[in-house]
Symmetry: D3
Subunit: 317 residues, 6 copies
């Protein structure tokens, strides 16, 4: 087989020296960020636990489609109750961690602390779940109606990354509103990683929202989107310039992303920047660049292509 099995490692790194240098780097960072005095374990929400919560909630929202494959419809209420109870217990723990971390760090850095208790947040969240389900149902229907390739609502629910992103977004948005923006961000980043669709939990999105393909979509934190809107891949609803403070740091808060009214369609690669309003029923063509208001029912499209000669060269990235 092989004649190897590790030879002696005389010429190997001095692990202690590497550890010391890494410790020095950590010390410098912590001095600069007021984190020197934090004995004990990390007390922050955990991405893994948040992922468990979302996975459980997917089953709670759609037990016979996204729950366990052997679940029988006769038992779905029981499954929903049990799974919800466990998921809310884990959520409560994570919410407590965020609120404590918030009190420790964010207040110290100038933001105001969040006044509500963890139990109240989790209770409100649970009470809003059936609204989330009903909203998502409108999204599934919108996709089925809008996409000629969709053969059934089941296919949409099981396969479409846009729906996966919206399940995460609608959960994350509710958590954001309830005062746990870090957990909310973790929820939305899980979808971002899986689908390439980046919807900030702070964005407001109406019913029957349709995302096609989705990769590369970015929807910023203060965007407001109406009902029956359709957005294709690589669309950006972003911010334009924003003021910075004396230290060159962005001043946080304040509306800076677009308002998209009902029934707007935005084709792939379009970019809309700043607090502009895209009027009801407008259509933005692919790859357009919009930094001003668009009147209702307007069609906006890009300058067309031009031919520049016969092919003879090749180029790559």
């Amino acid at each position: 087989m092989t004649a190897d099995l590790s030879p002696p490692r005389d010429d190997f790194p001095d692990i202690d020296a590497v550890v010391r240098e890494l410790a020095a780097a950590r010390h410098d960072w912590r001095s600069a960020h007021h984190r020197l005095n934090e004995p004990g374990p990390r007390e922050l929400p955990s991405r893994e636990r948040v992922a468990e919560i979302v996975e459980a909630l997917r089953g709670v929202l759609y037990p016979m489609r996204l729950g366990p494959a052997d679940l029988r419809q006769e038992h779905e209420n029981r499954y929903v109750a049990l799974t919800l109870d466990t998921a809310l217990g884990v959520l409560l723990e994570q919410v407590r961690l965020e609120l404590a971390w918030e009190a420790r760090h964010i207040a110290a850095e100038g933001a105001e602390p969040l006044p509500r208790g963890a139990e109240a947040i989790v209770t409100d969240f649970a009470n809003g779940l059936s609204d989330i389900r009903r909203l998502l149902d409108t999204d599934v229907l919108a996709a089925f109606n809008a996409d000629p390739a969709a053969r059934s609502v089941d296919e949409v629910l099981l396969c479409y990354p846009g729906i996966q992103a919206l399940i995460h977004y609608r959960i994350a948005h509710r958590l954001h509103l309830l005062g746990v923006p870090l957990i909310a961000r973790m929820v939305s980043e899980l979808a971002h990683g899986a689908t390439g669709i980046d919807i900030h939990p702070g964005a407001t999105i109406g019913e029957r929202f349709f995302i096609d393909h989705g990769t590369g979509i970015v929807i910023g934190a203060t965007a407001i989107i109406g009902d029956r809107v359709q957005i294709y891949q690589a669309v950006t609803l972003g911010a334009k310039s924003f003021p910075t403070d004396a230290e060159g740091r962005a001043i946080k808060g304040a509306p800076r992303h677009p308002i998209v009214e009902d029934d707007v369609v935005i084709y792939s690669g379009a970019t809309v920047l700043g607090r502009v309003t895209i009027g009801q029923g407008a259509i933005l063509g692919g790859s357009v660049w919009v930094t001003e208001d668009v009147a209702p029912h307007t069609i906006v499209s890009q300058a067309r292509m031009r031919s520049v000669g016969q092919a003879e060269e090749r180029r790559t990235a």
Copy 2:
């Protein structure tokens, strides 16, 4: 450590009430979609099982590169036979589920049922595997030849997301043709999630296809792509407008995506929409927007940039 351990949860959500509301939401959806009468377990193909099948087929196609790390070449035929047998067994089970679901739902919603049996589909699929392997070999070679950063065919096979997407696509396309479009879609969405490359299983793609970087590529269901085509990141081969029925639902079927002839190169961010033909050997420059036919050997490129002054502002999304 911590003085906590959950305090009583008096102020906690009324789980029963939440469960009731979720049940009501499900009931409304099922009434609207003719799914009220479905006791027993979910009978639909499973994303997890489909993922297992694809993982096994990757090893079957490339045993010494994508199979188990300790497999010895002397035993690769045995590994291929065993793994194939298991994978086809699981596939047979999933195909049966899709055919039964198809008979139950799609027929009810107006599409015609699929006439072939599960065994015939799986048999045809298995018999086509060596063709899939030979096609993929041309893709690997195309990538190695086209990318100056590629140091060996092994690196291409192990690292390039374009190859991962093509393995999934070529499997999915075959399944799509054989009459199990839902399983096929699951196969392609697994690659979409992992690579950001969205190739609909219905698309037709010739040999020596090269995808570079890949993130954001969209290839629609009725696209037809010739041999030796190269496509870069964020290229869309999409549909233009299509008629809707009286209820505003897209009329399904009918060719609506581009035909891309042999030897075409399409650079990053280009968008081609509708049933247009990009003639043999044409080159579409980055970010161009094409909605009409392009003659063979034509180069199409975007209007150039313009400078608008000195930098002084900053903006972000």
Copy 3:
């Protein structure tokens, strides 16, 4: 339940025939690529093992944020030492595999062999880890300062895909320089899959680099990026045409990607191609297409949109 349990599979594929055809396909490929004579197991670095190494190094670099949730700060040096020792052991094994494969295949295909030993590579890599941490700290700070939605440095580190991509890139770049480009490529592709950000390990990137959203970013192998640069989603720093040899294969090596100087900002969707220089402090607007040098402090933006009438049609991809 179900009356099934597999019926006999008379009409099933002839597994032996499929195995034979797959073996024939493999044989043809191996003949063409000089790989016929390779008995024994695959001797190539493994994506799974490389993923383990990177996961461990994330904890080594940021023990209290990306290490185990129950780690107490009092013990972080111990955790770092232990984890590092294990990770470097695995890395040593993978480096040996790559060097041996390199000697076998790449030399045979014309490239020069790598002269350094595995121990020396791993030692140098370990000694550079604290520099990587310090560079990453500047990236975290840059994101916190530049993004008005960022509420704390912890949120940036835990949630931002740009930071995840940079952890991978800075590790991969070091490995690339040390002579194990295949392992380096695996490290960067793991981030590409998870974030949609594709940074080639060969690229050179200065401190305080900020990636926002990130999906679709492509940075080529010979790109050089200065300090304090900001790049948004879907930006390409790619190559333009390059010469091919007599067999139509790209000639490898040679600078072919942009130089981006300090303090440049490149907005979403911009494409910069070829060995051009974007001068210090320049701003490239969203979706611009740049193939020539840009002078320092210049603002480059796209031609604006135009309105083409009232909305009445719909189109999709």
Copy 4:
């Protein structure tokens, strides 16, 4: 079957030769046992699946003690219903396998086939579960009352191997009576492996049965044990001689193990063999050897020790 010809590693076993010899050994065995003609997968109950069923039933019987640690009492009925539904589904599948195997093999070897259907067996089993729970409750109480070291009924349930063995036995016995002796045997052997207590599923045992320590206890297939019996470690309730047929094979069936009446106590190491009756209230001392009836309320004990001199030697096993 296969043309597979792996070349041997130089200094290593000829794998093909070993495989051929093993195949020859299998062929000889199958010829001798009428199992040559069995294409397809093994169709026998699976130890792993049976273990899953028992694990689930433990939670169904004692949800707040042997179910999941985070189960809240408010939800125990839901947990019981869901878990039961899944476990019975798996049981149904295993029962079908045993019935089919029984029809194939046991009938052929002379035993009569079992006439009842799988659904009826599982239904009867489910309907008897609350009786099993009530019986087990009497066993827990008996242990608590009899053992001066037991501090609470919870400790008995969580820690005592005798209780673990009785949970398995009471389930296995019911399955044995219902006509699936192979599954029943798997259930009891799982407890035998874990506790060293070997109770044949065919044995009949009354309520308030107390097993102390338990290791080495053997209770044979036709033993009958009354109420309130106590048995200590290493007790055997076995069979004496039994007739063999012309081929020297044991003649199966027929009562051959002891009857132990109510209130009997049998101390450690006692051996009782054959169809004898230990009368009500009798006490069998440790290590006694009993092959005849014992009258009610008799005490039987061993001949006492004798001293044989001063210690000077040592011996070991």
Copy 5:
């Protein structure tokens, strides 16, 4: 609690009815044992968590033999510190659960509550770990010296079930003394299940204790064993009769198991019952039955076998 009404499967058990009957059985038990009023999750130490603690402590005690296989000796102190910290954290949590449960149930049932805090218990336990290691070292040495089949101390540590049982016992005994007898019992039952050796945590055992083979050994809660004692398989150090109270329940506490002085050897199958003293240096032969004191240096052996004729029958259990 819930209005959930699952329709029965036709030929299947009425799950709801089974659930109701199981709930009734639980209700009866809880009424009888004062456990009706326990909403929320089970608050008892968990066998799984206790198993994790013991597994970690095995590595802490013998890092280079029972710790992770790739641990390098250079790092063993770090491994010990990290693993200990985590294990003590989990232990603290389990100790708190036991103390709370003790206060709730045992007090109610008449025993006195335990006055010490969880932190103090865990601290004392940790401080005693090196004593446990030193004691275990004497046990390993005793086995190596006493067993002619032992080829090295490493073999003893890695393979001998007696050592496994003693690691558990010495941990469990310390926990028992510190006031957490339920956790202690779980620790010892884990070894009982794995080795067939049942040592009650309450027993007192001196140094250089040697257990050979071990299966079936029982050592009772109040036994006291001196130094350099050797015990073979199936030895019982048990209790004789003890008084019961008016309800027939054993009166708990009070010494009732043997005292075994230094240098005693007890061969396989011997049974010693009651508060008798086996004097220093005595030897108890295999299978003897002892219920009275044995003077120091005495050899006790069983009455010898007798031949009863020619073999002609066969018997089995």
Copy 6:
């Protein structure tokens, strides 16, 4: 080694102090046992890896009964070849570790080193596998014939702990003969833990060996057992006194366990000690104590019980 100074938690153990004391205990042990100078990882065979090997060999020996549940008989040779190849690779690695450790430690402690190479050992082992299978087949048949409760050979193979123990023993014995006694011991201890049957790998056992129930059986290292022998639970074939050296350590080697000739039956609890011979066809009754030769065809049984009065007391262990 490290300057690591974790501050103690207030009310908690001083982890550093505990670590120091544990290190001191290790140091003392290592000084006494010549193990101070062993940097690097543990280089000893691993119980986990050995368990994997045995699990694989079980499938190799009985593919359609102990292999994967979904294996189809058509593919069993392929499964056997692949599994064997992997298992032998792992075995080779473990054999190398044992040989190296042997050279380091055992030689130092006085035993002679083993001269054969790892490849030769593994090759011989593989070549003997079909003999092991044929021997095991005789054992299965013996159990089926001897046990009136056995309903089929499949039940014996799937459920009987005696068969499980013999699979391990026959593998372990072969490894012991080939010169890797530590790995062999690990194999047999895995069965000891699972079944309570302790057969030393050095023992010699003929064909058609039948073990019933099995718990507590001990068969010593130099025992020799003929063909068609039957042994019941709790039987000991052990050693009597043996000489010790000047330091009181057992002198190792030399025959010290019984010879049991063909066709002997030994009933439960019997103890046979020393190098005595139990002649062909003899029957040893339950619980007998034998330390002298027994002539062929003799029946040996215990003195019978006596009744000592009426029951009125209770006793427990």
